[in-house]
Symmetry: none
C-alpha cells in the first residue's frame, strides 16, 4: 500500500501575522490522521499569488494530497481562487447552483447583492465544485498528475462541514488508505526523562509499525502509541498488548486515557468511590476549584471551597489556631493539615484538600524560599500533607500546586481501593 502524504496550506495575512490563531490546520491534521493519511507538512502563507503558486508547485512534487484553506472570500485580498484557476489552466465560468445558493442567502438575510458576491459563483471549469451550504464560497477539488488538490474556505465551521461531508469521500475514493489506531496513556507525578528511563526496555521492544510520542505539560506527561497497517483489528490488538505491558510498569502514574482530562478523571473517581470534596486554597487562590468546576456535573461531588488568602480568614473562617500560624507560619505542615481537616468538617465533605505556599515572585525567606508549597489531605481516617519545592515563577507554581493537589486525591482514592481489594480477598 502506497503511503499517502498530505500538505496543508493555510492562506491568509491575518493568520500569518498572528492576528488570529490557526485552529483549522490542527483540525484537518486530526481528521486526516483518522483516515490514515499522514500530514507531511503544514505551511502558512499570506494572500500573495506568487507565494501561493510557489508553495503549490513544490508541494505537488512531495505530496499526493494538498488541502488549502482560506482566501476564498468576496473581498479584494482573497485571491486563492484566481490563483488556482491560473495554476491549473482553467477558465472561470458561472456555476448556476452556486449562484442561486448565494442569491438565496442574500435574500434571506436581506443583504444587497453586489458584483463581488456574484463573482463568488464564478468557478474554474476544470474543478469539482464542493457545495458550501453554510456560506457563499464553495470548495473546489482539482486533479493533476494523479494528485488531488482541495481548496476550502477559511471560516472554521464552513471548512469543517465541507471537509467531513465532501472531502473525506473524495479522498477515500481516490486513494487506497491504511488503518491508523492511536492510544494515549496519561501520567502524572513523574517527569519525562524518568518516565523515559523507566520504560526504556518496553520501548525498545516496540515493532516498527508502532510509534511512541512523549507529550509533556506542566506536571503531566502523555504517552501516545500509534499503530498503522492494513488490518485495523490486528493493529488494535497489537497496541492493546503493548499498553497492557506498559501499564504493568507505570500503572501508579496513570490518571486517564485518550481524551480524559485530569479534572474529569478525578471527578469520575470521586463518583465511583461515592465521595465528596472541598478545598481550602491559599496559594492556589481558587485554581483547584476552577479546575474541578470546569467539568459539567461537578456539583455531584464538589461541595465548595474557601479561598483563605489572608491569615485573618484562615483564623476566622477556617478556624485555624492563631498560635499555629504564629509558631509555624501559614506555610507549614501544621497549618496545611489543619486547613484540610477544617474545610472537610466545615463543608461536610468526605475529603478536604488544602494548599499553602509561597507562589512568588516575592515573599520568600531563606527557610521558606519562593516555591515552597504544602498540600494537605484529610479524610475521616487520616490527615496528611506533602511538601513541594517548585520554581520561582508564580503562574507555574500555582498550576503545579493545583495539579499536585489533585494527584493527592487520586493517589489516596486509588490506594484506598487497593486496600479494599486486598482486604476483601
Amino acid at each position: 500500500m502506497k503511503h499517502i502524504y498530505c500538505e496543508i496550506i493555510t492562506i491568509g495575512d491575518e493568520i500569518l501575522y498572528g492576528h488570529i490563531l490557526d485552529t483549522n490546520a490542527q483540525w484537518i491534521s486530526q481528521e486526516l490522521d483518522k483516515i490514515g493519511i499522514t500530514t507531511k507538512k503544514r505551511t502558512t502563507i499570506g494572500d500573495n499569488s506568487k507565494d501561493i503558486t510557489n508553495v503549490l508547485d513544490k508541494s505537488l512534487n512531495e505530496n499526493e494530497l494538498i488541502i488549502l484553506t482560506g482566501g476564498l472570500g468576496p473581498t479584494n485580498d482573497d485571491i486563492t481562487k484566481n490563483c488556482l484557476n491560473n495554476f491549473f489552466g482553467g477558465k472561470l465560468v458561472t456555476d448556476k447552483n452556486t449562484l442561486s445558493h448565494i442569491k438565496k442567502i442574500f435574500k434571506k438575510r436581506n443583504f444587497d447583492f453586489t458584483k463581488k458576491n456574484k463573482d463568488q459563483a464564478r468557478i474554474p471549469d476544470n474543478c469539482i465544485v464542493l457545495h458550501n451550504q453554510f456560506g457563499t464560497a464553495p470548495g473546489m477539488a482539482f486533479q493533476k498528475d494523479n494528485k488531488l488538490i482541495i481548496s476550502l474556505p477559511g471560516v472554521p465551521f464552513e471548512m469543517k462541514s465541507l471537509f467531513t461531508n465532501k472531502c473525506v469521500g473524495l479522498i477515500k475514493n481516490k486513494f487506497l488508505l491504511p488503518f491508523i489506531y492511536h492510544r494515549t496513556i496519561k501520567t502524572i507525578g513523574i517527569g519525562e526523562s524518568w518516565l523515559s528511563d523507566l520504560i526504556k526496555n518496553w520501548e525498545s521492544n516496540l515493532d516498527e509499525s508502532v510509534s511512541l510520542a512523549y507529550l509533556p505539560s506542566l506536571g503531566r506527561v502523555k504517552l501516545r502509541l500509534t499503530g498503522k497497517g492494513d488490518n485495523l483489528e490486528k493493529i488494535k490488538k497489537k497496541i492493546n498488548n503493548y499498553e497492557e505491558n506498559l501499564l504493568k510498569i507505570i500503572q501508579k502514574y496513570v490518571y486517564g486515557f485518550d481524551k480524559e482530562e485530569l479534572e474529569s478523571s478525578i471527578g469520575k473517581l470521586l463518583i465511583k468511590k461515592n465521595k465528596t470534596i472541598s478545598f481550602a486554597e491559599s496559594c492556589t487562590g481558587g485554581f483547584i476549584s476552577r479546575m474541578i468546576t470546569s467539568v459539567p456535573g461537578s456539583s455531584q461531588y464538589f461541595m465548595g471551597s474557601i479561598v483563605a488568602y489572608s491569615n485573618e480568614i484562615k483564623i476566622n473562617n477556617l478556624n485555624i489556631k492563631k498560635e499555629n500560624i504564629e509558631k509555624y507560619g501559614a506555610v507549614s505542615r501544621e497549618v496545611a493539615e489543619e486547613m484540610a481537616k477544617n474545610v472537610r468538617q466545615k463543608f461536610k465533605s468526605s475529603i478536604g484538600i488544602s494548599t499553602s505556599g509561597i507562589a512568588g515572585p516575592d515573599g520568600g525567606t531563606k527557610e521558606k524560599p519562593v516555591g515552597t508549597i504544602w498540600i494537605g489531605y484529610s479524610n475521616k481516617n487520616k490527615t496528611t500533607s506533602k511538601k513541594l519545592i517548585l520554581t520561582k515563577r508564580r503562574d507555574i507554581n500555582i498550576t503545579l500546586s493545583a495539579v499536585n493537589a489533585l494527584n493527592q486525591v487520586r493517589i489516596n482514592l486509588e490506594s484506598n481501593s487497593k486496600g479494599n481489594r486486598h482486604s476483601s480477598k
Copy 2:
C-alpha cells in the same frame, strides 16, 4: 532600509498530527511584528531530520531570519539539535554553564540525573548558547551567509522567556530595523462591531503610516495602534495624539493599556481607592479568585472567597436565607445580592462580589435557560446586581461571568471617584 523577512519553523510530530495546537507560531509572529519584521511563511514539520534539513535549506534562500521551535527535549524523538549541528557543520561539545544549570535543577528537585539529561548540555560548538533559565534545553543561535537562525525549545513559557530576553536583542543587533511603536487600548463591556461604529469617524482620520487592529477576546476588545517609520519620537507623538482623541470617545470602556491585564488593573484600582475585596462564587467556581490571585501582591487587597457550589454551603457557610433559595431559586437577584453582602461582611472586606448562574451544558429551565447569570455587588453603602444572558457553552459562560464581575468592580470604583470629584467641586 532593507525589509527583513522571517520564516517560523515548528518542529514536532505532536503539532503536525494535530495532537496539540500550535500557539507558539502565532505568538512569535506577533512579537516579530512588534519589532518590524514580517513573517513571510510558517512551516510545520515532523521530528524527521530529512524534512528539517530540506525546509531549512529552502528557507535560507528566501529569508534573512529563521526561527525554529521544538524538538529539543531529552527523549529519542527530539532530533532538532543533532540535525542543526550536522546542517551547520559543527561538533557537539559539553557546555559547562548548561551542564551545571541542569544539575542544579535536578538537585533542587531531588531528581536523578540521567545520561539523557547530561546529553542536553552537549551543544554545537559553532552556535551562541541561549541560556534557558526555566528548563533544561538551551536555545541556540547560528549565523550563516549573514543570516540568523535561532532554535528554541517548544515548551511555550520557556520559548517565550528565551525569545523576549535573548532573541529580540540578537535580532536587533543583527538587522537594521524600522522603528515601530505600538499602543494598545483595552476595552471591556462593548462588542467589536459597536466599538467599530462608535469610533468610525476617528478611525477614518488615521494617516497611512498608522494602522489599527481590533483584537477581540471574551468580553473584551483591544485596539492596537501601530506606527512605523524612521523617527521614533515623531511616531510616538502621532500615536499619542490619536490616542488622546480616541479616549474622548471611549474612556468609559477602557480598563487598561498595553500589557495591563484586567485582573491587575482591578488590583491597582483597589489599591488606589484603599479598598479590599472578597468573592462568593457559585457558577464561576473559583475562577474570579483565580484571576485576581494570578497577580503578584494581590494579598494586599484580596481577602478571600467562598466557592459556594452547593445550596447547603450557601445556607450554612454564607448564611443565605433558606427561604430565599426556595422562593426565588439560587440563580436570582435576591440570592446573588445576599451572597455579595454576606461575603463582604463575613470576610470584613470593603467590597463583596457574587456570581450565581447556570453555566451549563445542563440545568437550564424555560424561565432560567443555560447562560442565565446574576452578578451581585455590595459595599457598605449599597448592594446591587446585574443579570446576564450568555451562551450555551459552559467554558464561555464561566469566563464571561468572571470578566463581567470584575468589570462591575471597575465601574463602581470609577463612578465613585467621579462622584467624589464632582462633590468636591
